[in-house]
């Protein structure tokens, strides 16, 4: 079940340090979001990080084979968790998204992403002999993706649900589904989207309308986007400087510690800082991707690729929200948004990625 402790030394140190850098930037950012105060966010996020570290080491030491074996268990646990969330969940901001576990409010949907990807990896790993994957072989992954999507969407949490769906689709796509199907489904989506519109909750429709024109509601729903754009835009080339972001420190920015944390960063460090951050995340994304080229085990490849993609994708979606490129759908900025579930799930992902990156493929992995 466990690897040798020495294998810890074989982890990808570049990736590890990038992770620390990103987390540290997030810490600095939460510190400045509180107007130069460790309370209430920075210190608590740091505590969480330290509490979660043993989990990271635990995962790092796991044999990939063990993970491979408990894939279904993970998926079932997550589905159960989502069901519990739906029926006994803790309600906040008009949605049932959390269950209380120990002292934490746990957002199970964050872990559904990981479970889904691992499941996909195992599923396609088993199918591996085939050159291409047709529709029939994609049905089970699609159904699983859709059920997770629906379980999360009814909470309601459209943002997370969409991410889950997209991760599922990316996994299927990466695994090699015939190109005709993605193309067909794109056309299909374009055709049914008017119907989907009517299925959306009014507040979701609202968000999209206001995304298209934030000035419709400058003090209400559009306020987030307008204020966020002001904060980012006023950052300019080099930013206002550390702790000099007035928009954020003066509370103009709602949810500045969670969904709009990038605005805090960008106001302080400007275009230069933002590009630097994007570059760091890009490298952080590409390091595991490069590793996938050297791997032949489908299970490893899919997990590495899709989960690494997941972090970068959420990063881009989140930034796009704050700069008005996408509607506000509630996607956290990995390692920078304040929040335990997101932090824990991303740490687990990184642990998994580092674990798999250190795999020597010469060995027989799975029975």
């Amino acid at each position: 079940m466990f690897k040798d402790f020495k294998s810890l030394l074989n982890i990808n140190w570049i990736y590890f340090f990038l992770l620390l850098i990103i987390f540290w930037v997030g810490e600095i950012n939460l510190y400045s979001a509180a107007g130069g105060d460790l309370e209430p966010w920075a210190i608590s996020q740091l505590k969480r990080f330290i509490i979660f570290l043993p989990i990271v080491f635990f995962i790092l030491l796991l044999q990939p084979k063990f993970i491979f074996n408990i894939t279904e268990l993970i998926l079932i646990t997550v589905i159960l968790g989502l069901l519990i969330t739906l029926f006994f969940g803790y309600t906040g901001m008009g949605a049932k998204r959390w269950i209380r576990v120990g002292g934490f409010n746990l957002q199970v949907s964050e872990f559904a992403k990981i479970a889904l990807v691992i499941f996909m990896a195992k599923y396609f790993h088993k199918l591996n002999a085939q050159k291409t994957i047709g529709l029939i072989r994609s049905i089970i992954p699609l159904l699983i993706s859709l059920s997770l999507f629906l379980l999360v969407a009814v909470q309601p949490d459209l943002g997370t649900a969409l991410i889950i769906l997209i991760l599922g689709l990316v996994a299927i796509f990466y695994a090699g589904i015939k190109l005709i199907y993605p193309l067909l489904s794109l056309i299909l989506i374009a055709l049914v989207s008017p119907f989907l519109w009517t299925l959306l909750k009014p507040y979701q429709q609202n968000r999209i309308m206001i995304f298209l024109n934030p000035d419709l509601d400058p003090l209400g729903k559009g306020y987030h986007i307008i204020q966020s754009k002001i904060a980012i835009g006023s950052g300019g080339l080099n930013g206002n400087g550390f702790l000099e972001g007035s928009q954020s420190s003066l509370d103009f920015l709602p949810e500045k510690e969670t969904d709009f944390v990038f605005a805090i960063f960008s106001e302080q460090f400007g275009f230069t800082g933002s590009l630097l951050l994007i570059s760091i995340f890009l490298i952080f994304f590409l390091v595991p991707i490069f590793k996938t080229f050297k791997l032949t085990q489908v299970f490893n490849k899919i997990i590495l690729f899709v989960l690494s993609f997941k972090i970068f994708f959420e990063f881009l979606i989140n930034i796009s929200m704050t700069i008005g490129l996408l509607p506000v759908v509630g996607v956290a900025l990995p390692f920078m948004s304040y929040g335990g579930s997101s932090l824990l799930s991303n740490m687990i992902i990184c642990a998994l990625l580092m674990n798999l990156m250190s795999v020597e493929e010469k060995k027989r992995m799975f029975s």
Partner: protein, 590 residues
């Protein structure tokens, strides 16, 4: 495990797909970067401006209005902190009990019933002003503060007018019609005219605020700038004295001019009002002021226009001399009436004045002399001379509703009444009746012109205003003739105002002219009908009593112009008042 290893082909697919997804992600990152470039570089200044607007709130502090002083630097308009008891309905359900309690505790004499009626309709969150609070009341209230939850004392900065008697000059403040204007502004008389001069500049407090508008810190303060002060020519002592000299029973007005520089030393009108009620928003009082048929807001010395009566007579006299129609020695016989074109024109003295020369005509105010003179006068010449001597002029002294009055001429009659001029009308005009309309200030200016030899300083209310001369030079001989007649009217026996000397021999010696301004034109039949004299004439149809005089007689400095509406003859009512005022001005050397 080998069979689970990806085939070479499927590895290629993985890599290809990997490439596609990575490429899409890179494109996505690129788009995000472009967007950031647009926000942070291209539109930087726009968002920076927005950011500053967001975080800085500017709170204006009201400007401090300039003070107004009288000629001796007494404050006549300033700013004061006023304290008021106010009620917040929303703070206590039983607010009326509290009002009752307060009323008993502090003896405010509030009409509880009225207040409760008004309060029923009043917005719960706006303070309702119960009463002004003076110092003792504040102390008493503070001692018992725990009894009250809905009543508080608030301080407000207001314009404060210590003297009611200057309201007709200073005017008052009001809400601007411009909704963007935060502060009240002068809307009447000097407060209005000198708005720019007085108003000052509001200060600004720049605060850094958070999204809820809560002030985080003060960034900077721009102190409000006090407006310029204004020094009036009005002498407060004289102003108050004159006001008390006006009989309360009649409407009327008085204006005192300094002949040398045109300074208006006092200007009173009765009835009057208190500017403070506008500042205090005493709506009931304001309403009654506006609707009062006696028009207390009217400054009768400035905007009251009446036929001048006999005080007008020096003008036709000067014209007659100038045009050589008469000389000082020219005499006529006054039989009590004269006729022109089958109409009779009567002298006020039914028995007639007998032989009358210019001096006697003015001194005894013989109408027949002026009728005879008028028969040879061209009305246009008369109108021109009257205009040159200060009548028929708009005086821009800073008061609102400035008007010209009227000395008729042919052109005027043609254009307003579409009628030709009759010489008979010249006769009536020459004794100051008919179409003539002059204000007390204009009459004072006329006498200033007479005393100054034609060129006279334009009347002014503002001390620093440079002297501006109006009028045209008079022939000195003619001027002397008129002045000696005006002196005789008061100083010599049988002068119309000779009684003044007898009544108050110790008063300063003055010259002047009485006048009686007819309110209704007495029809010929009535003139002939003796019943006219005895007929009960309604008060409002009684003649206005007019007097214009000056003192001291040797080198006159003060000119007073008095009109008492429906007061009767000039000699009986207006003249004694004028004498009292001239004496006061002279004694006090205002």
């Amino acid at each position: 495990m080998e069979k689970n290893k990806a085939s070479q082909d499927s590895i290629k697919i993985f890599n290809r797909r990997s490439f596609i997804i990575t490429a899409i992600s890179l494109i996505f990152s690129f788009i995000v970067s472009i967007r950031l470039f647009s926000l942070q570089i291209l539109n930087f200044s726009f968002y920076q401006k927005k950011s500053v607007e967001n975080k800085v709130s500017v709170k204006a502090t009201p400007p401090i209005r300039g003070d107004i002083f009288d000629s001796e630097k007494n404050l006549v308009a300033t700013n004061a902190s006023l304290y008021e008891f106010v009620l917040y309905k929303n703070l206590n359900k039983n607010y009326l009990d509290e009002v009752n309690k307060l009323n008993k505790l502090i003896n405010l004499d509030l009409n509880i019933f009225n207040i409760s009626e008004k309060l029923k309709l009043f917005n719960a969150y706006t303070p309702f002003i119960l009463s002004r609070a003076n110092w003792e009341q504040i102390v008493e209230f503070e001692k018992n503060k725990f009894l009250f939850t809905s009543i508080k004392i608030i301080e407000s900065k207001k314009r404060y007018y210590p003297y009611k008697n200057l309201s007709q000059i200073i005017g008052y403040m009001g809400k601007s019609s411009d909704v963007n204007e935060l502060y009240s502004k002068g809307v009447f008389h000097l407060e209005k005219t000198y708005e720019e001069h007085l108003k000052g500049k509001p200060g600004k407090i720049f605060n850094e605020v958070n999204s809820r508008g809560k002030i985080i810190r003060e960034i900077s303060i721009e102190e409000p700038i006090k407006g310029n002060s204004l020094d009036l020519t009005i002498n407060l002592k004289l102003q108050n004295f004159s006001q008390s000299a006006l009989p309360l029973s009649n409407k009327g007005s008085i204006v005192v001019l300094n002949r040398f520089d045109g300074s208006i030393l006092s200007m009173n009108s009765n009835p009057t009002y208190d500017s403070q009620v506008f500042e205090d928003r005493e709506n009931e009082t304001i309403k009654s002021l506006l609707n009062n048929p006696e028009k207390p807001l009217l400054n009768r010395a400035f905007t009251g226009f009446y036929p001048p009566g006999s005080v007008f007579k020096p003008i036709p006299a000067l014209l007659g001399l100038k045009k050589n129609i008469i000389s000082e020695k020219t005499e006529i016989i006054c039989t009590g009436s004269t006729s022109l074109a089958d109409r009779n024109y009567y002298c006020w003295k039914k028995r007639g004045h007998g032989r009358v020369n210019l001096k006697k005509a003015i001194k005894e105010s013989c109408d027949c002399y002026f009728y005879e003179l008028a028969k040879k006068i061209n009305i246009d010449d008369l109108s021109d001379l009257a205009t040159a001597l200060g009548l028929n002029n708009i005086y821009k002294i800073g008061l609102s509703n400035a008007q010209k009055g009227l000395v008729p001429n042919k052109k005027w009659k043609k254009s307003y009444l579409d009628q030709g001029w009759y010489q008979g009308e010249t006769l009536i005009t020459c004794i100051g009746q008919g179409f003539n309309l002059t204000s007390p200030l204009q009459l004072a200016s006329l006498y200033s012109a007479l005393l100054n030899g034609g060129k006279f300083p334009s009347p002014k209310l503002i001390k620093d205003e440079p002297i501006k001369y109006l009028g045209e030079e008079l022939n000195t001989t003619h001027q002397k003739a008129i002045l000696s007649a005006l002196k005789a009217a008061v100083q010599e026996q049988s002068g119309t105002a000779y009684r003044l000397n007898l009544n108050n021999p110790n008063f300063v010696k003055i010259g002047g002219k009485t006048g009686t301004s007819q309110v209704i034109r007495i029809k010929e039949e009535d003139r002939e009908d003796d019943i006219y004299k005895t007929k009960e004439i309604e008060d409002r149809f009684k003649d206005h009593s007019v007097f214009v005089g000056y003192a001291p007689i040797e080198d006159p400095k003060y000119i007073v112009s008095v009109i008492i509406e429906n007061g009767g003859s000039g000699s009986a009512v207006a003249a004694p008042i004028a004498h009292k005022i001239l004496n006061f001005a002279y004694q006090e050397n205002v």
